[in-house]
Symmetry: C3
Subunit: 130 residues, 3 copies
């Protein structure tokens, strides 16, 4: 797979995403269900958003790994949260660290929604290629 990122504006350097990702000669595409903070027994978390995000990243990593893909292959990672303010206030460092540690260069759309499954407060929807 060939991957190229496009970031027309200087402010884009200070974000945790790129404005666009181009991929060519893709060998496989992995469409992931929205991942949330549910444990291995199917129990949804009741913890705060930051804790939920940490657990969600663990789930996403496990999912992508078991599929035989790498997190660096994520081309779209959408963030759905019940509070944009809470997300930026309490989750930014967790988010930044995860993106940086995997060298992910992805397109992202962030939406504040009215609700998620089982009262959860943050969800990540990934599309991955290799």
């Amino acid at each position: 797979m060939e991957k190229q990122t496009v970031d027309p504006w200087k402010w884009g350097e200070h974000t945790n995403s790129v404005q666009a990702v181009e991929v060519k000669q893709v060998a496989g595409t992995l469409y992931c269900s929205g991942q949330v903070a549910i444990d291995a027994n199917g129990q949804p978390s009741t913890a705060d958003m930051r804790s939920q995000l940490l657990q969600t990243f663990q789930n996403l990593e496990q999912l992508i790994g078991e599929a035989g893909y790498e997190c660096s292959g994520i081309v779209r990672l959408n963030v759905y949260t019940t509070s944009v303010t809470e997300f930026f206030t309490t989750c930014t460092d967790v988010y930044q660290a995860w993106i940086a540690s995997h060298g992910v260069k992805q397109a992202t759309t962030l939406l504040e929604v009215q609700g998620l499954f089982a009262g959860l407060t943050v969800e990540l929807e990934a599309t991955v290629v290799k």
Copy 2:
């Protein structure tokens, strides 16, 4: 097209989706607009969510069929609803039955949104491959 599903956790067996779907050697991809309960004359439904979902599935089936694709080729089926609670209370059996009858194994993200087109209460966004 080669398709493979990934479901790392046992609780995934009791859902109507898979945690991830991988596709390779795709001959074609069909991007569908969000389907809602609009009749052939363009009239949006005013019925309850369950009835809207039934009509929406009919529209989605017709759309996918006319495009020369099969519902079993759906890789991503997102559900947007104005009430997650109402969806799970009144629509689960309809949803389960439809997924099962077509043998769909798809990634799904469910979001509660503030509103949809024309006061409708449920919308399905599909991406299909062959």
Copy 3:
């Protein structure tokens, strides 16, 4: 790339999207981050939704152009807004004109969300192929 549109219902002719787009033999796919009315210095707009949409289309055009793609290659263009009513009341002509001027034939899902980044009121998420 081969592209084909599918529009099973007559009412579809009066919309600014198609019900489905099929693509085959795709040479490249461009996943774009949700575009909003942010200027080149990273300053989010505080203008009305219509003005924001105009600026957002400019950003989207620049992004797609710099990536070496064309707007007519958009296969999915999702609209996220904080008010569906305001969007249809104040933005329809801007939207129609842009779609028509680029000859875009795309799948679209329109959602009213609770909030977007930095208090913005409209966001466009594009997937483009060539």
